[in-house]
Each structure stands twice: as structure tokens, then as C-alpha cells.
Amino acid sequence: MLIELDGLFKTYEVGTQKVPALKNITIDVKETEYLAIMGPSGSGKSTLMNIIGCLDIPTEGSYRLKGREVGTLDDDELAEIRSAEIGFVFQTFNLLPRMTAFQNVELPLIYGRASRKGRSDRVWETIDAVGLKERAHHRPSELSGGQRQRVAIARALINRPSIILADEPTGNLDSTTGEEIMQIFRQLNNAGNTIILVTHEQYIAEHARRIVKLLDGEVASDTTA
């Protein structure tokens, strides 16, 4: 099993007030699965993604990734996992503005301590896979939204992660461009990548084989097509 969430809670403390964002979440995700998480705003989708992506740890309960308990790891061990196992795609792209597309895609390799030899080839290969070879040396500000998201996907793929996490990847794109991005995810899943996707839109969610619906931080339904 790739991901095992068991009785997971996440509670934020704002001042003296406790905000429960996730309550008793129990989900397993197998390798090569394509999972969409849906739910109304504030239902805890991003919180769940962040925990799966090791950006944060649960308040209670257990999260095992490839059999390894994540909740007890320290900062640098979590960074290690993010570097090796996770590829993030964000709604707002989150590319670094002062770097070219090429440099943005290369960055996870540098943080992952990949040797310089062959690094450039790997970047070209990945950029080519998302169809952006011609734009490699442009900065994000010189790219369209769809192109930016392709760069972000290339950046998420470059370290060959076990899971690709995408939090509303089409949220800032028009429907045609969004559809193009979804095609890329489909191909990636067909090639054996595990994908977890957050979305508001039913038609986007239907790309996935399995849909988990959250309501007020709890799993409301978990259906596999």
C-alpha cells in the first residue's frame, strides 16, 4: 500500500479557538491509483493534500507512506520525503518568477542532490514531455496560464515521485486549457503514476477512477468507478 491514513485528525488553533479541519479520516491509496478529492470550500481538501504531501503533520492518527510513519518525522526528514516521493502542482502555479521555465524544472533535481551530469538532459526530456521545449528559456511572466501549469507539472515530475498531488490545477485556467492539462494527467496515470487531485468541478473529477468527497472535514463518500 502506498498511502495509509488511519483515524487522522487535524485541528488548527487560532488563538484559544480550535478549528477542526480534518476529523477521523481513514483512506488507503494504492500505487497507480487516480483519486479525486471533492467537497465544498472549507471542507478540508487542501489540508488533507498538505498532510499527504508532507508539508504538515496530523494532530492525531496515523499516516503511513510506503509503510513509513510520517507523523513522527522531523523537518529535514519530511523535506527528504517531499523531494523524493512527492510532486506538487498548485492552483496558482507557484513558479519562481526570477527563473526561466528550465531553471524552475531543474530546481527539484538540485534540492534532491542529483549530480550535475545528465541533469540538463533530464530537464529537457521532462519539458519535452509537457510540450514546452520552445519556451524553456522564458520566464513565467512570459508564459500563458496553461504553459505555466505545464512547467509546474514538469517540475512535479522531474524527480520521478511516487505521488503527484494537484490542488485545483485547473482552477485558474479556462475550460479548454484545463482540459489539456487534464489530458496530461491522464497520460501520466496511464504511464503508471499515482495521482491525487483536488477539484470543485464534477467534470474534472470524472477524469479520476476514484472520487472521495469531504464534508466538514469528514469523508462523506468514497466511490470507485
Binding site: N50, G53, L55, D56, D75, D76, A79, E80, R82, S83, A84, F88, F90, N94, L96, R98, M99, L107, P108, I110, Y111, G112, R113, R116, R155, A156, N159
Partner: protein
């Protein structure tokens, strides 16, 4: 993350905020610049003073009533007995003393034709004065034993006096008036230059016997001498001290009532004064760099806050704490290092400019450059560590949510 990448990233960030980076560096630039400029000026001054002291004559021991550098009780100084020619002769007879020249001084007007040089140093001495005090004759001759024995009215002119009184004519053999008395010019000395801003060439030397006859014999004599060959400076000084204490009846245990001056004493008291100045300057400039460093810290903190989201993104794609910390630390060090470099260049340029347009002989020393560079880099590390650590510790999830 490799150092090369860290460096490139830092440079990219800094160059995208050129104006801000420059303003941030300003404190460091000024601090490092001031440090190099002032240290260069002091170093230049020291070098030229050392060179000037060489021109007095090396190995010279000069016994006088008062020390060259006076510090302390002047009442006691005023009660001191004159040193006499007999004292000088006794010193001259010591086996450890080689050459000895008694000399006495006054200030008189010197004139030739309609030309007068007012209030000029007149020195009465003996032939040995030429060698001991390093007064080389360029034209004519120095005073001789016969001049002294026969109380001849002979005068040797310093180069500056000769130029003033005889701009065109050869002065040798001409009659000049020294303090209203007539003297015959027998020689002109080579130019010696300045010492601490005072000319060594504005004087007239006459036989000591003639001096006493013309201007009186109630002055304290200065005894200039050098050690006998093969005898150490300190032994000679000790023997002179003993004989003068006996002749001047200094009770056992009392301090000397005369002063034995040497060039190295003078140099060391000069160095003591500039040393204090030097340290004070280093302190002040250190303070300036401290203020500059605090400026750097302030901007780094702003930069960390501004780039919170970027830090979040970097962490999301695998950056460790150390990667982020290193990046901000390198940025701070580049800021202060670059500021230091600009300051060093500016300070050196300033020092060289001062040398060009003023008589101050500034000399840029490696020490000054090294100290300024070290201060700047240390300021970078010192004031970069806190913002950089803060950046490294940011929680990735919160950093990503930061608007």
C-alpha cells in the same frame, strides 16, 4: 544544494532589487571605506615619519636638559641646571663614546644686502656635528677645529637660508649678518627636508666658541654623540647617565635631572600616539560597520517576509532547512562583501587622492584592506544568521498560504 546554485540564486535575487541592495550596502561601504582611508593615511604618515627620523642621523644620542617629548612635571624641568661644555667634554672622554659634538642654539635675524631672514635657528657647534647630525656640505666646507680654536666668524648656511639670501650669487666668501654680527659664509649644506612639518634646512651653523662670544655662554648645552664602534647603544647611554649623575650631583635614588634622547625613543613615543589614534579609529569604524550590519539585517528580515511564499514553494519541492538558510546567509554575505569591496576601493581611491593633492603621504596597506574585508564579511555572517535561520525554520504549509 550545491554552492554554485546557492550563489547564482542569491545573485539573481540581489540583482532584481538593485537599488535596494545598493542602499543596504551603503553603511558597509562607508564603514569599510573610512577604515581603509584612515588606516592608509596613518600608515603613510608613519612611513614618512620613520624616513624623516633616519635623516636626523642614525645611532645618535642627544643629551639635553629636557626630553624631546615632554610629559609630566614642568616645574621640575625649569629648576634643572644647565648642561655645560665641561659636561660635554667629560662625556666626550668616555671610552664608550665615539664622536661627540656639543651644540647650543638661539634664534636671530640673518641678513645679506637688503635681504633678511627673521628669527632663524643659529647653532654653535664643533666639526663633529657634521657627521653626527648628518649635515652634509654641498658647496664649500663645514666648520673646522681651527675655526673653533680661533673663534672665527665663519658660518655654514642651511640650503633654505642660502636660497633666500643668495638666489643667484655664490654665497661662499660673502659676509652675512647673524644677529647683527658679521660672519663669512664658508659653506652651504645639502637639503635635508622636513621632519614632522618642520624644515631642517633653515639654520646657520657657526663655531661654538664664536657663538658664546657673540651671543653669551649662559645657555644649556646639548650633547650629541654616537657610541664608539663595537659598543652597544644601551651601554653608552648607561655610561653617559652615570657620569652626568655624578657631575650634576644627583642623589642616589633620585630621577635624572637631564634627558638622554634617542631616535628610537622619539619614534616609539610617536608610534604610541598614532597607535592610540589607530585603535580609536578602528573602534569608530567598527561601530559604523555594526550600524551598517544592522541595516543589512533589517533588509534581510524584510526580504524573508516578502519571499515567504517563495520559501514555501522551495520547501514544497524538496528544499531542506539548511538549503534555505544557506541561501539567505549567502545573500547577506554577498551584500556586505560587495559593500566591503566597494568601500575598500573607494577608501583606497580617497587615500591616493589625498596623496596626490596634499602633502600627506597616504599608503594603502594590505593590513587595512584585510581588516576592512574581515569586518565586512563578519558583519554579513553576524547579521545574516538571524534572518537566514528564521527563513529556514518557516513552516512550509504556512509559508505557502502566506499572502
Amino acid at each position: 544544494m550545491e554552492f554554485r546554485e546557492t550563489l547564482l540564486t542569491s545573485l539573481r535575487t540581489l540583482s532584481s532589487h538593485k537599488m535596494r541592495s545598493l542602499l543596504t550596502m551603503l553603511g558597509i561601504v562607508i564603514g569599510a571605506g573610512a577604515l581603509v582611508a584612515v588606516m592608509s593615511l596613518i600608515a603613510g604618515l608613519n612611513q614618512s615619519v620613520a624616513a624623516q627620523f633616519q635623516s636626523i642621523g642614525t645611532d645618535i644620542i642627544s643629551v639635553s636638559r629636557y626630553p624631546w617629548v615632554q610629559m609630566g612635571d614642568s616645574d621640575e624641568f625649569r629648576r634643572r641646571k644647565n648642561i655645560t661644555i665641561a659636561d660635554a667634554e667629560a662625556v666626550g672622554r668616555l671610552p664608550s663614546v665615539g664622536l661627540m659634538a656639543p651644540n647650543i642654539h638661539t634664534r636671530r635675524n640673518i641678513s645679506y644686502g637688503g635681504e633678511t631672514v627673521r628669527f632663524t635657528l643659529v647653532t654653535g657647534s664643533t666639526p663633529e656635528y657634521e657627521t653626527i647630525d648628518n649635515y652634509l656640505v654641498e658647496n664649500g666646507r663645514f666648520i673646522t677645529r681651527i675655526d673653533v680654536e680661533r673663534h672665527r666668524a665663519s658660518a655654514v648656511l642651511g640650503s633654505e637660508i642660502a636660497e633666500e639670501l643668495f638666489p643667484v650669487r655664490d654665497p661662499i666668501g660673502r659676509k652675512v649678518k647673524v644677529g647683527g654680527k658679521q660672519f663669512t659664509v664658508i659653506g652651504v649644506m645639502k637639503e635635508k627636508g622636513d621632519i614632522l612639518g618642520e624644515s631642517l634646512d633653515a639654520l646657520v651653523i657657526i663655531p661654538i666658541s664664536t657663538f658664546e662670544k657673540a651671543f653669551g655662554s649662559r645657555r644649556s648645552v646639548v650633547i650629541d654623540c654616537s657610541p664608539e664602534e663595537g659598543v652597544s647603544m644601551s651601554r653608552t647611554i648607561e655610561e653617559i647617565r652615570q657620569i652626568l649623575r655624578i657631575r650634576r650631583k644627583v642623589p642616589r635614588g633620585d630621577p635624572d635631572n637631564f634627558a638622554i634622547n634617542t631616535q628610537s625613543d622619539l619614534l616609539s613615543s610617536y608610534n604610541q600616539i598614532t597607535g592610540v589614534l589607530y585603535m580609536a579609529m578602528v573602534g569608530i569604524v567598527g561601530l559604523a560597520l555594526l550600524v551598517g550590519g544592522i541595516g543589512v539585517m533589517n533588509v534581510m528580515l524584510v526580504s524573508v517576509a516578502e519571499r515567504t511564499r517563495e520559501i514555501g514553494v522551495r520547501k514544497a519541492i524538496g528544499a531542506r532547512r539548511a538549503d534555505v538558510t544557506k541561501q539567505f546567509l549567502v545573500e547577506a554575505i554577498i551584500l556586505t562583501g560587495l559593500g566591503g569591496a566597494i568601500g575598500i576601493l573607494g577608501g583606497a581611491a580617497l587615500a591616493l587622492l589625498v596623496r596626490k593633492v596634499t602633502p600627506l603621504p597616504a599608503a594603502v596597506t594590505p593590513t587595512a584592506v584585510a581588516i576592512a574585508a574581515a569586518f565586512a564579511l563578519i558583519a554579513g555572517v553576524l547579521f545574516g544568521v538571524y534572518p537566514a535561520t528564521r527563513a529556514g525554520r518557516l513552516n512550509p504549509m504556512e509559508a505557502l498560504r502566506y499572502e
